[in-house]
């Protein structure tokens, strides 16, 4: 993995992004172009003339990474470079919010690209402002007193509604699972979407050594469910099996209490989060 993701990036301590990038680099052996809109990764990959990635990187304005990838894919195809993966690597803001129209457009055209939304659940690069992917009740600098009043937008579900060939959710706590999903995506042509849950120690207010632990707790408490959707079927992935199939589920407090972004939450708030989680699990079960 060190072949493509080099030491000396500009990530914060405990940042989930390098974990994700290493898995992507490993899955495609570096034969990829990363299209990156404004997001933490714009900074993480380092300052010109240096780069912490030994892969092609194309930085783009915020709203348009899926469109840039569409044009790039076509040009590479015309040059016979079909095997080079064109991958959008975008945060939740550039995906769920400002980038939604171009994402939807590229999905509707079934462009032959892989879109990875690394979901750290707020605008972390500008200093922890809420995004539509921020969960309900979470503190951010623009939801500073009561926490976010709306539930998290479910982008993976929106992408399923686009009838694209492949949609998956993943977590940086389970790189093997992500790796397999990337490999699966590699076998498929057309639009592929992966939403990668990526806890941010700075924005979520937890200790930088606990990134993977927090990400794992999200899965174990059913707050984040790992699945794949292709051939019109939804398949729950290994790490989420105990939650969905066996009902083995940890209390959400285990996940919430470890992050200070939920520190103002009361009993009613916890119940509300729990209801969101239970509805999500019900939705998954209906599709099984």
């Amino acid at each position: 993995m060190r072949e493509h993701v080099l030491p000396g990036d500009a990530a914060c301590p405990g940042c989930p992004i390098p974990i994700g990038l290493k898995t992507v680099a490993a899955a495609f052996n570096g034969n990829a172009v990363l299209v990156i809109p404004a997001c933490c990764t714009s900074v993480v990959v380092g300052t010109y003339p240096y780069s912490s990635l030994k892969m092609n990187i194309v930085h783009t304005p915020f709203a348009s990474s899926a469109s840039v990838a569409s044009g790039l894919r076509e040009a590479l195809k015309q040059r016979g470079l079909e095997d080079t993966q064109v991958i959008v690597w975008a945060g939740d803001g550039g995906t769920a919010d400002i980038g939604m129209a171009s994402l939807s457009g590229a999905a509707e055209r079934n462009e032959d690209i892989i879109y990875i939304m690394y979901d750290n659940e707020a605008y972390m690069n500008t200093g922890i402002q809420r995004s539509s992917s921020t969960p309900i009740k979470a503190w951010t600098t623009t939801t500073p007193v009561y926490g976010k009043s709306e539930p998290k937008k479910d982008v993976a579900r929106i992408m399923i509604a686009h009838n694209v060939p492949y949609v998956a959710t993943a977590s940086i706590a389970y790189p093997q699972d992500l790796y397999q999903k990337l490999k699966k995506a590699q076998e498929i042509r057309g639009f592929r979407f992966i939403q990668l849950h990526s806890p941010c120690p700075v924005g979520w207010r937890f200790d930088a050594s606990k990134t993977v632990e927090v990400a794992r707790l999200a899965v174990e408490t059913g707050m984040w469910i790992l699945y794949e959707y292709f051939d019109n079927k939804l398949r729950v992935s290994g790490p989420s099996m105990p939650v969905i199939k066996e009902g083995k589920i940890k209390p959400i407090e285990d996940y919430i209490k470890i992050q200070r972004r939920f520190s103002n939450i009361n009993g009613e708030g916890i119940l509300e989060i729990q209801r969101m989680r239970d509805n999500n699990i019900e939705w998954i079960k209906k599709l099984l």
């Binding site: 010109y48 194309v58 076509e74």
Partner: protein, 404 residues
């Protein structure tokens, strides 16, 4: 003149652009429909679906994405094109900066249309002028033939290693875009040879990874912007060379950054850009027949600013009238600003230069209007008033907006 199969067609301005793109062998086109640009993308779609042009048209969900996809394609090594108008262009504006700063050659047609509100589909130059400082080379045609010829020249210029900047081909919506006139189509093979192989400063290559647009320190950014300015200055020479080469192959050349009409012995000058130059030229003819030594300088390249031509043709003009079809509110027209600053680069003492803002929102300007404006200013000049005037000409009335 090429002897082979002179192919003459009656084409609209929009279709002339489409033929120019086809002859330039663009292989990725991305655009979003907007009046009055739509006919370009419709015609190109027809070429592609009929198999006459080997290209993919990426039918995006917005203009913002249209230029983004064009950029992506160009970055990947394809000759890429887009077109838009008015609000589509404004929506795209962020991307114009991004493309020029990447130094990736692309060509875009701007079929100009006024900006709302109110809703108005008629042409002026407001949308075009809003792109003034984006780092694109900005050209503007006067008729459908020139628009086609400019399109081919634009690709060649954009892909010149001394330039590597994106190029705009401007034309007014409806006045040219939707109006038909006979156009000579260059021979396909000769056009292909003229434009040449696709060239760009760098390309995405899986074997040699590069990072485009990484953060820089301030000095690095400024250095890149200075390089853009250097390349802009190279356009003076290159545009002329390309136009002259074009003339040798196809029998039509236009000069350089400007085209002059009866400038040599002129004592008074008019400056115009775009289709209404035709009406102004007719006014020049009438004025000449009445014994007034008038000439007309037509702007073909708005950016880079044709400073040398302004100096050469306007410095000795006793009275110059600059017509602008857009305004920088609270200031003057953009071409006027260029003319004044160019002349001041030659000397601090310059002759009378008036600015006429007109034709805004698609208001028609005829031979009669140009004629009467000239006569009115001439009368003033002959009465000994040598002050510069900035007027907004509306319904035959000169509304004085001079800064006195």
């Amino acid at each position: 003149m090429s002897s082979k199969n002179i192919n003459k067609k009656v084409l609209s301005g929009n279709h002339s652009v489409a033929y120019g793109v086809k002859l330039s062998k663009a292989s990725v086109i991305s655009a979003y429909p907007i009046t009055p640009q739509t006919a370009i993308i419709e015609k190109l779609s027809e070429f592609v679906e009929r198999g006459e042009l080997k290209a993919r048209i990426i039918k995006v969900e917005s203009e913002h994405s249209a230029l983004a996809a064009t950029f992506g394609a160009a970055l990947g090594g394809a000759r890429a094109f887009t077109a838009t108008s008015s609000h589509g262009l404004l929506y795209m504006h962020e991307w114009l900066h991004w493309v020029s700063r990447s130094r990736i050659p692309v060509v875009m047609a701007i079929v100009t249309r006024t900006i709302g509100l109110p809703w108005n589909i008629w042409p002026d130059h407001s949308d075009y002028m809003d792109q003034r400082d984006t780092g694109w080379i900005m050209t503007f045609g006067m008729d459908n033939q020139e628009v086609l010829d400019l399109t081919l020249q634009a690709f060649k210029l954009s892909e010149d290693p001394d330039i590597y900047l994106p190029v705009i081909v401007g034309l007014e919506g409806f006045v040219l875009g939707g109006t038909y006139m006979p156009v000579i189509l260059p021979d396909e093979r000769e056009a292909e040879d003229f434009v040449g192989e696709r060239a760009q400063p760098y390309t995405i290559d899986p074997k040699n990874p590069i990072a485009i647009g990484n953060m820089t320190l301030p000095e690095g950014t400024e250095e890149m912007f200075m390089d853009m300015q250097k390349s802009m200055m190279n356009v003076y020479k290159k545009a002329k060379e390309i136009d002259s080469e074009y003339g040798k192959i196809f029998g039509r050349s236009y000069g350089g950054l400007t085209a002059c009409y009866k400038c040599e012995d002129a004592k008074y000058m008019m400056v115009t850009m775009g289709a209404w130059s035709g009406d102004a030229i007719e006014a020049v003819n009438v004025l000449r027949s009445e014994g007034y030594p008038v000439g007309l300088l037509r702007v073909r390249y708005f950016r880079p600013m044709p400073t040398e031509d302004y100096k050469k043709y306007l410095f000795n003009s006793k009275m110059t009238i600059v017509f602008d079809r857009s305004i920088s509110y609270g200031s003057t027209g953009s071409i006027y600003q260029d003319v004044i600053s160019s002349l001041h680069l030659a000397s601090s003492k310059i002759n009378v230069v008036h600015n006429v803002i007109a034709g805004i929102g698609g208001v028609d300007m005829t031979l009669k209007d140009f004629y009467e404006i000239f006569r009115s200013f001439l009368k003033q000049y002959e009465s000994g008033d040598e002050s510069n005037k900035v007027v907004w000409y509306h319904k035959g009335v000169m509304n004085n907006f001079s800064f006195e």
